[in-house]
């Protein structure tokens, strides 16, 4: 509860001379959360995860992982890259043996075997002969077998069919329940994360647009339907559209709203989409000081 799983302060990464993949990112992810990193393609999700995994060095700012420098935390962190890099010439069984050799003293062979077994994988098959989904399974088995405190997954479910997706998500949730593992997973499909995640990082245009516990973020926003021309100036407006005589908006209310406005709490997908449609909407990321107080 005390040391955050992930903490970024003015974090930025530039590729080449002037193309910033991420800039001025500050957030804090408390330990034990299941965090969704959401954003459109090219938003900076993969860069953020690679920085956290210690595979990239920041151009500016800092990122701390389990209270340490990413390189120093590496043995406590599991990372599954989007491309699931594995040795194609090894068999499934050999790959797991390699996992055991690389993680002496904290290799959980049972978990690794269970993840692989769920996919009806022949241990003697070579990695190169596996389908994309089967390869994901092996990569997850390697990452979970390491018994990490923090699991970083970049688009983990992208090449899985719905059944395998549900099953592997269940397995991840089981690990989180049993060991308090912090899980961070990126996706551009919000709906598939809604039930599994309790924390959100919304990345867009290289910035953090939203960060916080999902329940808090939803509670901070209201979808309002009001007569056209209603004055929203007192509130933070994420999105507002007028159709005929009616105005529909997503706002962060800064006080009580008039009685004749209809209000509902947006769904997570609704909220994320309203931010993505409106790149100029003010970001909501709790200031580090308030975070300090909340932990």
């Amino acid at each position: 509860m005390t040391v955050p799983a992930l903490e970024a302060d003015a974090l930025g990464k530039r590729f080449g001379r002037r193309s910033w993949a991420l800039r001025d990112c500050s957030f804090r992810l408390p330990a034990g959360r299941v965090c969704a990193v959401v954003g459109p393609n090219g938003a900076g999700k993969s860069t953020l995860l690679a920085l956290a995994a210690g595979l990239l060095a920041p151009t500016e700012g800092t990122v701390r992982v389990l209270g340490a420098h990413p390189a120093a935390a590496r043995s406590r962190v599991g990372f599954v890259d989007q491309d699931k890099p594995l040795y194609p010439q090894l068999t499934v069984a050999e790959t797991l043996r390699m996992g055991a050799d690389l993680n002496p003293g904290h290799w959980d062979a049972d978990t690794a075997r269970r993840v692989v077994a769920g996919g009806d994988l022949d241990p003697d098959r070579r990695i190169r002969a596996l389908s994309g989904g089967q390869r994901t399974r092996v990569a997850l088995a390697l990452a979970l077998g390491k018994r990490p405190e923090l699991l970083l997954l970049d688009e983990p479910m992208a090449d899985l069919d719905p059944l395998a997706r549900h099953e592997l998500m269940g397995l991840l949730m089981g690990e989180a329940a049993a060991h308090g593992t912090t899980v961070v997973m990126s996706s551009h499909v919000v709906a598939e994360l809604e039930d599994s995640c309790d924390h959100l990082l919304l990345v867009g245009g290289g910035k953090i647009r939203l960060s916080g516990d999902i329940d808090d973020l939803l509670a901070a926003h209201t979808r309002v339907t009001a007569p056209a021309g209603a004055d929203l100036a007192a509130h933070e407006v994420v999105e507002s559209r007028t159709t005929g005589r009616q105005l529909s908006a997503v706002i962060r209310p800064s006080g009580p709203l008039p009685d004749d406005w209809r209000t509902t709490t947006p769904s997570l997908e609704d909220l994320v989409l309203s931010y993505l449609r409106n790149p100029a909407a003010p970001a909501l990321t709790p200031a580090p000081e308030t975070l300090e107080a909340a932990v």
């Binding site: 299941v34 269940g170 949730m173 039930d195």
Partner: protein, 141 residues
Amino acid sequence: MVDYRIDRRSGVATYVQIVQQTKQAIRLGLLVPGDKLPTAREVVEATAVNPNTVLKAYRELEREGLVEARRGLGTFVRRSLGAAPADSPLRAELEDWAARARESGLEREDVAALFTAVLETHYPEQAAHPAPAHTPQGDPS
């Protein structure tokens, strides 16, 4: 044992669905006092929902006095709900009645409408409550 089924499109919060389905199982006598609820791990592995969602549901059930958490052992049912276990004489009468309704040619919707109308006459205040998204057994429709 209770097998939770989460319906994401029901509009009912996931933890509320777990609370409702647990109560339904207790009401039907599928869970009786002393029975152990599945562990959070078992529930999340089967449903892929967030562990905190399950814990929130169990806390709510505990707050209502229906279950109790015993440290290191699990969560156990404390008391029963209602007076209509799955094998009660009332159920047998209802079975009888449903069989007669079917013999007399009533369609499924006719029976449901009739039952709901009678239910609302005798339990007017319950009518406004949302029904559970799924019952833990049988056809939810």
